[in-house]
């Protein structure tokens, strides 16, 4: 087919899924252009996984439609399955097979011969640095190691769309960094990616476009820069050693920065539009004044802040959510 414009990889309109009285996804529209990375950002229960499952042909929509790689997810589910690679929230591997056996099995199920499956598995093992644990059973691997095997298994046939559902959920910060760098390499390769996450930081680090959802609806969408502009800037939090130091701290910082003083917490919040440069200035001011402080930290806006800024109310009942912060 000769077409001057590439159709979007995902096009969804009015996508809706109900479970009894509960509407998990509520008339969601979504568009992901080929070669871009879009992040669905939202708290637990926002409808991210249900959306991903509908796009991945695992769940049928109650209303609306979606086309993935030009194919309807209900009527042409088999074609969609050929075009995509979906990685669920928890590494979906056979625990009783080794890392390598899992990748070989997935390659065989995608139509490879035994020999071709071994070749592609060994290539992926090399590329995703699975080598040192390739012959260990998946049940004995750490979360980060499983994720890498999972990603490797997702890229047997170069998919037109890669869907990653919370790829760093439950990972320690170091494993998260490894997964991020792997995802960045894929993106540099031109893979179209739909990524769900609870972390604004993660969406910011990886996505070209963020769609913020809650209660199955889109709340806001835009580039990370646009969204962050709406959410508010970063700030430096300085915690004084005691009450007297808090007074000196406030007196020192107030003339030079835009601050909010929180007396109960002995904390001064300093607006930091220039991020690290502002952090350095605050540090210098504290040092020059010889003020005793317990902590100085650059805080990024979290999903909590984003919700507060965009909806005017905090996230409801989300026990798993932990604010992300970057210590100076």
């Amino acid at each position: 087919m000769l077409d001057s414009t590439t159709p979007p990889t995902i096009e969804a309109c009015g996508l809706t899924k109900r479970f009894g009285d509960f509407t998990a996804v509520d008339a969601l529209d979504l568009r992901v252009e080929s070669g871009t990375v879009v992040s669905l950002l939202g708290p637990n229960g926002a409808g991210k996984t249900t959306t991903v499952r509908m796009l991945g042909t695992l769940t049928r929509p109650d209303a609306g439609w979606a086309r993935v790689a030009g194919h309807d997810v209900v009527r042409e589910a088999d074609r969609v399955r050929r075009a995509i690679s979906l990685t669920g929230q928890f590494a979906a591997l056979d625990k009783n097979l080794t890392a390598r056996e899992n990748i070989i099995l997935m390659a065989r199920l995608r139509g490879r011969t035994v020999r071709a499956a071994r070749v592609v598995a060994d290539e992926l093992i090399e590329r995703f640095q699975v080598g040192e644990f390739r012959d260990r059973l998946v049940k004995n691997l750490s979360g980060g190691e499983r994720r890498r095997v999972d990603l490797a298994a997702s890229l047997i046939d170069r998919p037109q769309l890669l869907v990653l559902d919370e790829p760093t959920a439950g990972l320690d910060p170091r494993s998260r960094q490894v997964v991020w760098s792997t995802i960045r390499e894929l993106v540099a390769d031109g893979v179209t990616l739909l990524l769900t996450t609870q972390y604004l930081e993660e969406a910011d680090a990886l996505a070209d476009r963020i769609v913020l959802i809650d209660h199955g609806r889109e709340i806001a969408a835009g580039t990370p820069a646009q969204l962050k502009a709406q959410v508010g800037e970063q700030r430096v939090d300085v915690v004084a050693a005691d009450g007297a130091e808090f007074e000196r701290l406030t007196a020192t910082l107030a003339p030079r920065f835009a601050i909010t003083a929180l007396r109960d917490q002995r904390t001064v919040q300093v607006a930091a539009p220039d991020e690290l440069a502002d952090l350095a200035r605050v540090l210098a001011a504290v040092e020059d004044g010889h003020i005793q402080v317990d902590e100085i930290a650059l805080r990024r806006p979290t999903l909590d802040d984003a919700f507060l800024a965009l909806t005017g109310k905090p996230i409801e009942g989300d026990p798993d959510y932990e604010p992300q912060e970057v210590a100076a």
Partner: protein, 275 residues
Amino acid sequence: MSVSATTIPDPGFGGPIRFVRDTALLTARSLRAIPRVPERLLDVTIQPIIFVLLFLYVFGSAIHVPGINYKDYLFPGIIGQSLAFNAIGAGVATANDITEGVIDRFRSMPVNRLSIITAQVMGQFCEALLGMVIVVVFGLILGWTPHLTLVHATLLGGLMVLGTFAFVWAGVLFGMLVRSPDAMQGVGFIVVFPLSFMAGTFVPISGMAAIPRAIADWDPISALVASVRGLTEGFRSTGSLQLDHPEIAMALWCVAIIAICVPLALRRFNRTLAG
């Protein structure tokens, strides 16, 4: 614009060749788990072995069944009970696969949908047969002496395969319905456990109180136990129409279980599980 999501059949078939290929690959996957998770095989072998030891050497001295040596009475019961327990094993394994998300991964791949569930059943079926072989060999070692003619052996083998198939399908269905391995264990304990004890497994049905006796008379596992006992020992049970003709009753039960469970399991797999 709307999508009539439930009226369009899932097109995930892809021809008989792909069905056979995918089923073989996925069955091989299930079978690989046997040596790696030996405790699963132990579930279906240790329990019958413990029961044999308990009933043969602990309770057995107090049980007298007229017309038959207790050892010969007991082993057919154990075989019937083990076969029924396969439903629990298959259910737990299925619930495990579902909760671990690996089934979802297969479903999101260009894999024949029917082959995913067929392989699940095939894998469990092979595991069940292996468990049964171990139990029978154990019985023979302890001195159980089945008296089999070629005709009876063929009939028994056929009934055992049919029965294993039926109970494994039932287990796979329940495993998908309850979705958690622990819940499946619970269901198994509440439903299969008492039914398998009442089925004339360890003591004759004729001596039971009225209510358990009424249940046992029509318990499918009773037909199973009575069939094995009839074919191996020539020992006939009586008390109800099905106990008078246990082989026919067992075949009918199996056909009925398969006729009900297979379509329900396929439906559950294709549709409700997707919701």
